[in-house]
Subunit: 547 residues, 2 copies
């Protein structure tokens, strides 16, 4: 077995344990942003102007409820996701613990002026913000990070004072949409890699400081390791990398060559030596030089690591490199592939290897079994679909001691939200697969007795009945995660990965398919459908006649 | 004139001045990341492992030079950029002033283990990092932020100790690639909007904490305002917003309606009142209710602001809304469009208005002249092209007191870098347009006398001669921006915007075209071409014979 393969005991508690965790000493070197850009002012201006309007009307502390949902799976153009992996929750909740309107923030807002030159925010409102402008009154119920999730069913439900719920909206969307998008892509890449190690290499082309959220989400969703040093330490996963072309170039410029560069690297890392072989010519220079160095390492009692291919036809080159390595007696060293990889590119490379390797006397399955994948830009930018369309909508507000459902009757029926307080169940069928996420009103008992009538969330008349005998299990998806300005738990990345693994295994293989996946059912119960119908009708009846 | 139009005196020093700048008190509320993820460990693992190899070989403090370039303009699929806007530099340099290996970082690295359980980083190397692991020895020359830039010509040149230059690479790429991508998109959106205000609304779908870099880059590249409160204050631009559907929903749920919501908002902001009119029905409810409120505002001596359309056929709805507003005597209030806008969508909407408005008795140019554009997801994610392909390559290293050029001979000719120390000139032609960016060796005098032979950077034999009479001006593009661990200047966003405006105006209109733009020339001088040829030949001659 190659070193990389041995070491990359995916998600092993062992690896997690031996990497020192970042000490949360809280910043001395921020990424160039003074705090006022990362604190509570990390929000949209209209949240603040609306908050003042609520304040003016005495509605600012009125209990309200907001649902976070996404509307559709990522569609990458030539391929589509049939499920998503939820990520970003814990960093959001951590931020909520401390974010508040401090003196700096109040001072900035006090300086804003209207078009006539008067202060945009009045003193009484700013006083209230200074006093109550934090998330102490907010409660969040949410799906656990790492879980498989689907459109339209709430992934997080925020309850609390209307104004602070409104101000939270931007950060919540920002900190959940992108990580969920990346974790989803990572899961697809992981599936495509057939269990071989996936290394997240995207920082350099990632979205500035957002690359940290991207690396973390990738590690939750399916990347086994990341090159991102800071984030890897923060989550307790060993950071990984090989070396760059510059190492070889530096030795060449100084009168040496690729072989000298490889030897220098091997000397530093005799038992973890992965050599990048395409600086000059992969098959004529890189691989032969790597073989020379591997021979020297072996002679000195070390286990050679592997090579990395970073350009050209990766399927062809990996076959030819494997042949050279095999002929030299290095059947076990790893072959790390990188350069524009994503789930489709990997799928194609594996297919090409299966087809072509035998022609060159290389066992395709043995070759596929020694590959690792360095996946960069296309993972951290979710190539083909760069944004999850998550929204956070007001669904209820308290009036005279009772919750009143809120609704928005859009011209486009696909955008009608599910109103009111709710719960979400995941239903397993008799095959043991997850078969539907069901959105119910808050007061309904979980299904158990009798048939289950499931309504399409926004296509009127589309429904199906699940017979009681076919319901093998029902699980509640939302759990309390934030209360009294504190997170209720701090799950580890290892736990999130385990949830992801378990949840993905419960999906019908058709839903996991990379291209044209089966559609997973997200449905409303009869009670919820009735409520939605009633509110839509009421809202429509309030429309004024045509002018 | 509508309020929004009046107020959005684009890039006016006036607006800049009246917005309170963020006080750089340096963080008390980080976005959930302990410092070790945003400090010097914001890098790829292989930079550290290579640095140790350099250290082991005594090369770690060898002066080296790295060039930052991008390889190609963004290609959005159905349309393509013919130029880019450089952004992200100042935040990068600010980070470089403080980033260093402190005790926390050293402790984390000291805890890393190889596959055999030994420390990955040795004590002597860690001691060196603790002592010299900062950017004090690094000098940077760069193009100024906000300027028009093109592929292959260096935008930043880093000179300094090999190991620290290597460690800087990841952060440099990360902090320049994404902002340049977004500033470029923003410039296109700005062009498409024909000078009407562009509001950046992307935070909620932006890349987590990277949204801050995205908002800032958008403000440099072409957005007049942003909804991002923190970043707007940090750069001194008034944050902008309207209100959300939730405001209307809240009033509806409490037994009121859209009109009550509008009145409440108008009461808070009588002189800046932009009303979102699509919560119930745009033309039957939203616009009529807005007109009612505008009438009340006017009667009370205020200037009504405008309406926002956020769904449906924005061209058709803006015509019909304008008709209703005009008929009610509100010819001047703004119409803000939002919902999936980008440069193509805006182009199409404007074209449709020009064609259809006369049919409804609406003056198309008057309507186009009262529009503003709220551009969100597609701007902050650079829809269609989600990553700039910037690279940072070793181009020279010092040996025995002189600089030795470094080169990488890739299998793909398009990836051969321009070697050695260099300077970059921008050449103006006799029409007054910028016509070429020219990469020269460090020692060449600027062109002035005699014809200029311009070689294609990587297509052998492709060249042209620019006659001396056609060269109307030559400007050096790179300037020193970082030395002795300090930025050499702190340009304002207003200055960056002015550079962008001036540079874009110097482009041939064909280069500015949204679709299939003309190709701007980036060329090598004769001396630089000769050097590149010699080094490629030398490198190729060193390749070992086929095995």
């Amino acid at each position: 077995m190659g070193i990389l393969r041995d070491r990359i005991a995916v998600e092993s508690a062992d690896v997690e344990a031996k990497v020192p965790l970042a000490v949360p000493t809280w910043q001395h070197e921020p990424m160039s942003t003074p705090d006022t850009t990362t604190g509570i002012l990390f929000t949209d201006q209209y949240q603040l102007t609306m908050a003042q309007t609520y304040f003016r009307k005495g509605l600012h502390e009125r209990p309200a409820q907001f649902d976070y949902t996404f509307r559709s799976y990522p569609d990458y153009g030539t391929h589509q996701a049939g499920y998503c992996i939820f990520a970003g929750l814990d960093p959001l909740l951590e931020w909520m613990e401390t974010a508040h309107f401090g003196p700096d923030e109040i001072e900035l807002l006090a300086g804003q002026r209207t078009s006539t030159g008067t202060p945009r925010f009045d003193v009484d409102f700013l006083d209230w913000l200074a006093d109550s402008g934090h998330f102490g009154g907010i409660e969040v119920r949410a799906v656990a990070e790492g879980r498989v999730v689907h459109p339209l069913a709430p992934l997080a439900i925020v309850t609390g004072p209307l104004a602070m719920g409104q101000i939270l909206e931007t950060a919540l969307l920002n900190r959940l949409n992108y990580p969920t998008l990346i974790a989803t892509k990572a899961s697809r890449v992981h599936e495509s890699g057939r269990g071989r190690p996936v290394l997240e290499f995207g920082m350099r082309r990632g979205p500035a400081e957002g690359a940290n959220s991207g690396s973390r989400a990738a590690l939750i969703g399916g990347a086994d390791f990341s090159s991102n040093v800071g984030v890897s330490h923060a989550v307790g996963v060993d950071p990984k990398g090989t070396h760059a072309h510059s190492l070889v170039q530096a030795f060449m410029a100084l009168g040496g060559g690729e072989l000298e560069a490889f030897r220098a690297f091997a000397e530093s890392y005799p038992d973890d030596c992965i050599l990048l072989v395409d600086t000059i010519n992969t098959l004529k220079s890189g691989v032969p030089n790597a073989i020379t160095v591997f021979g020297e390492l072996r002679a000195a009692g070390h286990q050679p690591g592997g090579i990395r291919l970073d350009s050209g036809d990766l399927a062809y080159l990996s076959i030819q490199a494997a042949k050279q390595l095999n002929d030299a007696g290095f059947e076990d060293v790893s072959i790390v592939l990188s350069s524009n990889l994503d789930e489709l590119a990997m799928w194609q490379i594996i297919g090409q290897i299966e087809e072509e390797a035998p022609r060159y006397g290389v066992d395709p399955q043995a070759l596929i079994g020694r590959l690792s994948y360095g996946v960069g830009t296309r993972l951290i930018t979710s190539r083909g679909h760069a944004a999850l369309d998550g929204v956070c909508k007001l669904v209820a507000i308290e009036d005279k001691g009772r919750w009143v459902p809120a609704i928005k009757v859009s011209d486009s029926p696909g955008k009608i939200p599910t109103p009111g307080l709710k719960q979400v169940w995941r239903v397993k069928d008799s095959r043991g697969y997850s078969t539907a996420d069901v959105i119910a009103t808050a007061e309904e008992p979980p299904p158990g007795n009798g048939d289950l009538v499931l309504h399409h969330p926004n296509r009127e008349g589309v429904q199906r009945t699940m017979r009681a005998a076919d319901v093998a299990g029902v699980e509640s998806l939302l759990e309390p995660v934030f209360r009294d300005r504190k997170r209720l738990g701090s799950p580890t990345i290892a736990e999130m990965r385990e949830r992801r693994r378990a949840d993905v295994e419960l999906l019908d293989p058709g839903v996991r398919r990379l291209v044209n996946p089966h559609v997973y059912h997200v449905s409303l119960t009869q009670q919820m459908k009735d409520l939605q119908r009633r509110l839509v009708a009421e809202a429509r009846s309030k429309q004024p006649p045509a002018q």
